[in-house]
Structures are given as C-alpha cells and as structure tokens.
C-alpha cells in the first residue's frame, strides 16, 4: 500500500516553478579515494522543502553535508563534480567555506546546544559574525519566535540550555541557525532523536519556515517526507562491481514519489518492501 499523502497538504502545496537554489552536476563524494556517493545531478528549488530519503548507507547524509562544506571536516573526504549554489560552485578555488556556512545553515540529528545559556546559544552566531552588541537582544528574540520557542523560554533566557527537553533543545538549535539569517537550512534527520510530539512540533515549524527559507531535510521516516516536503529525492545503494555506492534513483514532486513513482526500486522502498 503506498503511503497516504494527507489531502490537506496536497492542496496547499503546488509545485511552483521557483528559482533553483542548488544545482548539483555529476557530484561524487569519496572517502580515501573510495566513492561513497556518485553521479548525482539535480536541482533544489527556492522556498521548498526537499527531502532526501533512502535506506541506510545510501549517502543522503553525506550528500547533504556537501551543501555547506561540512564534509571538509572529514580529512579523507573529497568531492568531485560541481555543487552550484545560486550559480557559484561551492567547491571552487575562490570559495571560503566559512562564508558558505553563513548562508547555508545546518541542524543536526542529535540536538547539540552549547553548554551555555539559551541566550548565548542563539547569540553565538551573530556574535562571531560581528553583529552589533545592542542588536543581539532583538536578534535573539526574533530567532526564538521564529523557532516557536520564545514563549516557553522568554523568562529564562539566561538559564543553561542543557536544562531543556530534547524537543526544546532541537528548536533552540533551529533558532540558533536562524539567528545568522541564512538563505538555506539543512536538516540532517532533525527529529529522529525526538519523541512524536516534539517531532510534530518540528514538522510544523518546517512548514512555517519554508515561506522564508529553502529547506533540505534528510529523513529515514518516509511518512515525515510525505508530510512536509514539496519534492523528494530517493537514493539507493548500488553494488557497483563489489563496492557499495550511493546513487540518486528518482527525484520528483513528493506526491509523485509516493503515489506514482517511475522506478521500481522507489516503489519498493516507499511501500516498505525494504530499507
């Protein structure tokens, strides 16, 4: 049985032809010379939520970390092909990864607030980017409001972030990312460590944020992808001459992927036959 896509969501979402924010051309990621993900070419669009789904090991996390040069942190990783962000190859010689991350923010699977106060967590990004001291209060409030966390914490901004629940911490991480006013927000399995209620809160948040930001999420939860995303990219592992390489199998509007996929493997994955 193919996953039901809630009718309300189908109505609201239109596949608007908007500008491509990312254009990947023949992107390949290698670890110590061994390809982990290969031959990926597709475009991601503005003000849309694009979901990367697929079985474990298919490279979806690896790929999303290319979009903000976080793969640089892994010494043995190398990227070939072109990752174009609004026309600029992020892996070009003249590109500074620090600049990239100011425009393309990231939220991680396990909430990772700094061991500081809620205020200092959200203010960290603006501070290191040189924001004026008297603008911080306003930035912090604005970001916490956008992350649907302000009401819950406005009276205890100076308390330690570790005192919050998992769901609140993740929303704090989102607020933190929003504070630097990025263009794109990448989310690597943002709700997989959270309980169902917090997950629902995060998903609602995503649907609000997409009006102002472009969002890419990696999720192993197909229903989540069906619930929130405009477009879905399905990845799978190819056994390429004995080696496991992740490849993009199908990329289409979410409704298509879940109700009428073209590729047999996509059909099998979304109907739960494997993965």
């Amino acid at each position: 049985m193919l996953t039901q896509v809630a009718p309300r969501v189908v109505e609201e979402r239109q596949t608007r032809p908007s500008a491509p924010v990312f254009a990947l051309e023949g992107v390949q990621v290698l670890y110590a010379g061994v390809p982990a993900v290969a031959g990926v070419s597709f475009e991601l669009y503005e003000n849309e939520i694009t979901a990367f789904i697929g079985p474990s090991g298919c490279g979806k996390s690896t790929l999303i970390r290319c979009l903000n040069r976080m793969n640089d942190l892994i010494a043995s990783a190398s990227v070939t092909g072109r990752v174009l962000y609004r026309g600029v190859d992020l892996y070009g010689d003249d590109v500074d990864p620090v600049q990239v991350r100011k425009r393309i923010g990231m939220v991680f699977q396990k909430p990772n607030p700094f061991p500081k106060s809620i205020y200092d967590n959200v203010a960290f990004g603006p501070r290191v980017l040189g924001a004026a001291k008297d603008s911080l209060d306003e930035i912090v409030e604005r970001s916490l409001v956008k992350a649907a966390l302000w009401d819950e914490v406005k009276d205890r901004l100076r308390s330690n972030a570790f005192g919050m629940s998992g769901g609140q911490q993740q929303r704090l991480c989102i607020a933190r990312a929003l504070a630097i006013e990025p263009d794109v927000i990448l989310m690597d399995e943002p709700a997989s460590a959270l309980d169902p209620i917090s997950t629902a809160a995060i998903e609602d948040l995503m649907l609000e944020l997409v009006e102002d930001y472009s969002i890419v999420i990696v999720t192993h939860n197909m229903q989540q992808a069906a619930r929130v995303s405009n477009r879905t990219a399905f990845f799978d592992v190819d056994l390429d001459g004995g080696r496991r390489v992740g490849r993009l199998v199908e990329y289409a509007p979410t409704e298509t992927i879940f109700t009428n996929p073209s590729d047999q493997r996509t059909r099998e994955y979304v109907t739960g036959k494997f993965g």
Binding site: Y85, R86, G87, V88, G92, D94, V95, V98, Q99, R103
Partner: protein, 305 residues
C-alpha cells in the same frame, strides 16, 4: 556566472588567525627544543670530559674521587650505588605495589576502593624531600639502628632504599592496577564458571593477562628509582663506596650531580664536566627504560582496546 563574492560575500580578513596557528606550533615545538637542549647540554661537556678522561677508566674504574688533587673517575661506585639503592627500593615496592594492585582490581569493593585510592594518591604526592627527612631522622635511628646496631652507618643505602620503595609503590600499584582492570570481565567469568577460586583467577588468569602492564609498571618504577635524588642525598650520605653492603653509605649518579653542582667545582674543570658525563649516563638509562615501558603499556592496551 555569478561570482563567489557577489553571492557569498567577501570573507573577513583573518591574517591574525594564521599568526595564532604559528604561535601554537611554536609552543608545541618547545618540547622538541627542550629535548634538544638537554642533549646538547649533556653532549657538549661530556665530549670535553672524555677529552681528559679515558673511556675505559671511566667505565671500569672503581675509584670515584673527582675532587682530589690526583682525581680518579671510575664511575662504577656511582653505578653500584644507584643499583643498590634501586634494587632495595624495587624489592620493597614490587610485592607491596603488586599486592595492592591485585587487591584493588580483584578483591576490593567499590567502597573500599574509594577509601584506599586516596592513600595511594597521597603517597604519590608527598615531596621526595619529606621522604628523605623520614629516612634519615626516623627510619635509620628508630627502625634500622635497633635492628642492625653497630655495623650500620648513620648514612646508609638501606634506609634510602626502603623509604624510596614506599615512594615508588603508587607507581607500580597504579599502572599494574590499570592493566589488571583492563582485563575483560569475560575472561574472569569464564574462569569462575569453570569453578576456579578467586585466588586462582587472580594469579592464573588476570595476572598473566596483565603481565605486560605489570612489567611496564616495574620498569617505570625502576626508572623513577634510578632518577631519584633527594631521598638518597639526605639519607645515604655521599661516600662513593664500591660495595654491595646496604649498611654502608653510598653515592649515586644523582647525588653526585647534586652535590657537585652545589659545591666548589670550578666551571670548566674536569670535575664540573663530570657532572654532565654522569648526567648523560642517567639520561640515556632512564630514556631507554621509559621507551621500554611505553612499549609494554602499548602491548597490553592493544590487546584489550
């Protein structure tokens, strides 16, 4: 094609960060500089020393009297002095340290461990001059003199050796205990499951499995004993007797260096250079022992981690 600058903004100048990276590297290189400094300091004067003293005289001579009008530089008394005191220390420290280690690793309840570990840590934190005081002014008069009577000199190797042994107990105990605790529980449980007693498990299963760590602790303890100065300086006197009799006073390599550096040897004299020659022997010896113990530690860590 859009330019990186237009889309991503111009990166802020961060030349300061490059300078910081350089400073950090320099700080790390200081360690290499220190070792180089030690080597250069030692080698330079040692070479001068052997310009005036024949190597064979040094290595095989049994008369060490560098400050006499007709000096003699046979280093053997210093070596035997060092070995005598160290051997006594290890004879004391090894059984006590190993016993404590086995007890802590295999027998002690968590509550007992919490009470005992501070004792060992305290022992490890006592400055060696305090041990020296204890050896000279308590151990010799109150313990050794009643036992040995007349033949015992006020300054003697035995007192320094025994007290030094207690100083080394924490070293042997902690490294051995670390090695024994690293032995997986599965090994013990297997033996218990076969009906072995605690004694048998401790001696036949855990101890052999932790052997390389135990050896490492011994070598480390020996290295500390050889390099120790104050206990011997205070309690063993400064007579370079070429002897194996622990009741006599001895001079070790370390106490010779300390006493001569403090004393009247003129800079540039052979006696002054002797400081560095003996220092070289000390440095090389302890270096080799430390490298050896690191090897052994690596071996037991590798097996279980």
């Amino acid at each position: 094609m859009a330019t990186a600058a237009a889309i991503l903004g111009v990166p802020r100048r961060r030349r300061g960060e490059q300078a910081i990276k350089g400073l950090l590297l320099l700080a790390a290189l200081l360690s290499v500089l220190t070792t180089a400094g030690i080597v250069v300091a030692l080698v330079e004067e040692t070479v001068s020393f052997f310009g005036e003293v024949a190597l064979t005289d040094f290595v095989t001579g049994t008369d060490w009297s560098p400050l006499f009008a007709e000096p003699s530089f046979g280093v053997l008394p210093l070596v035997t002095g060092t070995l005598l005191v160290s051997a006594i220390a290890l004879a004391v420290a090894t059984p006590i340290g190993l016993g404590a280690a086995v007890y802590l690793a295999e027998y002690a309840s968590p509550r007992v461990r919490r009470a005992v570990k501070p004792v060992l840590e305290l022992l490890a934190g006592v400055p060696t001059i305090v041990f020296g005081y204890f050896a000279l002014l308590f151990f010799t008069p109150e313990v050794l003199e009643p036992l040995f009577g007349e033949p015992l000199q006020g300054f003697n190797a035995l007192s320094a050796g025994v007290v030094m042994g207690f100083m080394i107990v924490p070293t042997i105990a902690s490294v051995s205990e670390d090695a024994m605790s690293a032995v997986p529980a599965a090994l013990r449980e297997g033996a218990f499951g076969l009906g072995a007693t605690k004694l048998q498990v401790a001696t036949r299963v855990v101890f052999p499995a932790a052997l390389s760590g135990v050896v490492a602790s011994f070598v480390l303890g020996a290295s500390r004993a050889i390099g120790e100065t104050m206990i011997v300086l205070i309690a063993a006197g400064l007579q370079p007797n070429f002897t194996a009799d622990p009741r006599k006073s001895v001079e070790t390599m370390t106490t010779f260096v300390a006493a001569t550096a403090k004393g009247d040897a003129a800079v540039g004299s052979v006696a002054y250079e002797a400081i560095f020659a003996v220092g070289t022997v000390l440095f090389v010896l302890t270096l080799l022992m430390n490298l050896l113990s690191i090897r052994f530690v690596r071996r037991y860590r590798q097996v279980y981690e």
